[in-house]
Amino acid sequence: MEGLHHDTDFAEPHSGSATLQPEQNISRTATEDFSKSPANQTLTAEEKILYYSQMVRIRRFEERSLRAYQQGHIGGFLHLYIGQEAVAVGSVSVMSEDDHIITAYRDHGHALAVGMDMDECMAELFGKKTGCSKGKGGSMHFFAPDKNFWGGHGIVGGQTPLGLGIAYALKYQNKTGSCLCFMGDGATNQGPFYESLNLASLWNLPVVYIIENNGYSMGTSECRHSAGEPLARRGQAFDINWSVHQGHDLFEVRQAVSDALKLAHESHRPSVLEIVTYRYRGHSVADPDQTYRSKEEIEEYKKNKDPINLFRDKLLAEGTLTEDKAKEIDQAAKDESDASAEFALASPFPDPGELMDDVYWESDNPDKKTSSGVLFFESI
């Protein structure tokens, strides 16, 4: 039996040397300039403009979806990402071909950032047949496996073991890839997250947990929901590399995620990144917004820490972007959003006959069915 208990790839003794000291982890401040950091120094003007456009597209898409919600075209919940755009766009922009991504229910930004089409996303919100999940997933459950995007998950923290499994599969399949697993600050208080951190470190799995800390788990502020700051430091108990970053700076997000991916690719080590950000709308748009925070607080963020405005100002200052080009990008995003709403509105609802599709692989593939018997039961 000698050698059997610790010689697996998944249980190789890990080195704690990659773990930074806490002081180093939180030393980065909003005043540090990341535009010339290693992950950003070779960026072309086209790439910068692309990231700017992606953030603008996400915002305009969500503003348009909000109007559609208010008009009664969208049901249920609509968790908007407005204010957090630099986190998804910056993170996705440093992913390589074998990197994968999974997130929670505030997923529109990530979906558009990976390249999902506005039409299929808006149509999904409208519950239409042309939606990315044929109207069966809704706002919280967008998926695009062809773009390495694995959802869109509705239960807080429920995706944290899934992200671990994606990383496990990549390693098992000998791929140099990692899984970016996004979550909110509220999800850090769910048990499966800690179980996942333990396994990620114990088995050396290339997963990057990205806590998008927007300050509130629904309506409960961080100081009322979490003991011990910063939240990312919780990774330290598992010898996991952790750090805290400012989410209103796309350059900083790119650098942080790039570093974590490098660690994952080179040594299979996990990371916990806490990216401090802010959402302008309620937890879901139907929720009261000012029972737990002030209008002034929201305005303060919009004025001083808006990720899109800050990035635009940087690009304008360095001459990468002009006011005219910025207006053009904005108008194009508005037009695309409007067109997606028109597409969604004009699209057919799924036929009631489609209700039974997509439950089991086997019932969708009757010619390859191996079981017999009844899979669906009548209730009337």
Binding site: T8, L162, Y172, P192, E195, D358
Partner: protein, 326 residues
Amino acid sequence: MALITYREALNQALSEEIKRDERVVLMGEEVAQFKGSYKVSEGMLEKFGDHRIIDTPISEAAFSGLAVGAAMMGMRPVVEFMFWSFCYVAFDQIFNNAANIRYMSGGLINVPIVFRGPANGGTNVGATHSHTPENFAANTPGIKVICPATPADAKGMMKSAIRDNDPVCVMENTILYNLKGEVPEDENFLVPLGKARIALDGKDLSIIAHGRSVHTSLQVAETLQEKHNISAEVLDLRSIRPLDIDAIVQTVKKTNRVLLVEENKPFCGVDAQLAYIIQDQAFDYLDAPIKRVSCIDTPQAYSKALENVQIPNHDRVLEKALEVLS
């Protein structure tokens, strides 16, 4: 054919499928070095290495979810629960994630995964370790549930479950692990899911059961024959979802009298659904009301004196059988 135990049959199924398909791994608490809490995976670590037979920490939510994520990526993990009772701390991963992801993604993502382990009472381990959640699991569209009762089915159905492209919950039984039976050695021996089996041919009464209750029912059928000259048919469901409704209806039409036996608690148990189906599809063929024998409706008792009465035992099943026949 070889005479082997239910436990050995499971081991054969797992070993053959791990050998056959590199996407298959077995993970769970104590499955590797410890050889499995009930020794189902004995010898597998030595044969396949710790890349394929993987000991996990006691973190059911994390390793169940990890396996679901890996299945989404094209692997075919087999997750062992030391007891199915422990799935309750992983409920979200099984019943939200494994069950719903295919549907919520509009069919874009498959989750070919097996969750397996023993789900039974009768071993004096108290309420927290004696759950039989086949009814909970079968209540969730997207999930398949099977309860093999014999060594041959343990092998053939486990192999089918691993090759299945949907999530399958395999409910075993610690009391059956030592049961011996004839099992084909053929590596291509498969028992399809959703096909019930007539365990005993009869004409006066249909006893429909699954899991260990099949064996109790067979004993009762023997008593009925010997002491009451009554010929009972015993139908082993084998699979809960998919369910072999044709076989159920057929036996009811043949004998016109039905007794349902299961180790579930009665309220919303599997047999509640069976009773509905039978009255719906064979009402005119019934000569007597359907009767049920389930676990007595309290948390599982520890003491032998209590638990032996609580689970459907020979005498309780016999008594109800005679009621149906009276």
